[in-house]
Symmetry: C2
Subunit: 224 residues, 2 copies
């Protein structure tokens, strides 16, 4: 293994459970990629580049309606593995997901065919894949519950609280348009609810920014 790959070994959660032979194989095929915020890494069924292992930064996976509305389904942070960019590998995945870098990010790419071979030869890799899928399914079920049963106020509070935690700041640099794209909603709906939140003293709004003025009450609302 070359020195360069220590980064991969450090972030790929499965590394310690692989055989020496599988480590050798992976070492030969993985590549490191640095991308700037906004880069689209995977676009629906148009490509099948491989699995992304996030070394640093943040990725966003989302689905898009026929009319171009978006909803964020998964966030991928350091050490997370994005399987859905290799969805052609599992023919039972029949939905299109787009993956973009939300921040400047560094990732490792495991080519689809190589990962597929590992899945066929190693129960550790195959079971890890099940686990990943189970975790994505858990997130999807959470989203279903949110959309079916939670009011928009609760969902927006949830989003703001999570965003503040991801960004490590209570002053978010984000437009209403962008929030709408995350939540699968319309800009006007977001603006209306944010203004209501502002009247209630929960947030303070300024151009391009949302400040969480009362994070505690927002958290209470989010957990309702």
């Amino acid at each position: 293994m070359t020195g360069d790959l220590t980064g991969f070994a450090a972030v790929f959660p499965l590394w310690d459970r692989l055989s020496d032979a599988d480590r050798d194989t992976l070492s030969r095929v993985v590549t490191r990629l640095e991308v700037s915020a906004g880069t689209v890494l995977h676009n629906g069924s148009a490509d099948c580049v491989g699995l992304f292992v996030v070394e640093s930064g943040q990725l966003r996976a989302f689905i898009r309606s026929e009319e171009g509305k978006e909803v964020t389904t998964w966030r991928l942070l350091e050490g997370d593995v994005c399987l859905l960019s290799a969805s052609c590998m599992l023919h039972d995945i029949q939905f299109d997901i787009t993956v973009e870098a939300e921040h400047d990010s560094a990732l490792w790419v495991i080519p689809t065919s190589d990962y597929r071979s590992l899945m066929d030869s190693s129960t550790a890799v195959a079971n890890y894949t099940s686990q990943l899928m189970a975790s994505r399914l858990t997130d999807a079920m959470w989203l279903i519950e949110q959309v079916m049963w939670k009011g928009f106020d609760v969902r927006l509070a949830s989003f703001l609280v999570e965003e503040a935690s991801l960004e490590g700041t209570t002053t978010l640099s984000i437009t209403h348009e962008r929030i709408a794209a995350h939540m699968g909603s319309a800009r006007e709906v977001v603006t209306r609810m944010l203004r209501y939140f502002q009247d209630e003293g929960l947030v303070e709004l300024s151009r391009g920014h949302v400040r969480l003025a009362d994070p505690v009450r927002l958290r209470v609302l989010a957990s309702r």
Copy 2:
């Protein structure tokens, strides 16, 4: 293998890909269960009986809100395998699903621990599990898209068309209450839309029954 197990071999999709040893193991541990319509087979995280393989009949998997509202997430028909009744097996599954028999059904139960052992020893089983999970995830993503972006009229038309196809009849014996439970909606909302459909000549309503009066137009509406 005893004669009784031919039923299992016929419906378990993975059978042909198993080693003789794994077939022997499974043959020793599976049990056959006959249940009548309405039987709750798995209840949230309260139990972890095992995987269900449907020999005949129909199962329904659904999630429930804190207020007791339901939404049907999966239907399981002949030959389908229900993994989520063994969710304790995969610690990344962190949501509660209820599984009930919708019709009188016959199923085979593979105990959780035995399936778990097979997953650890056989890449065929482990990869089959990934595939199952991918297929469930695809259904969940479909539901998210429906709920986020489709009007209630489109979703209701979809439901009626699917139900008619499952039951093999255009005269459904189903209450508005029950439709609401499938769709995660309220009875009043269902009744209002069904009356609108009736005014439009799409359905005919009578006590406990919904007849699809114009299946073709319903299908067009459903695919919108």
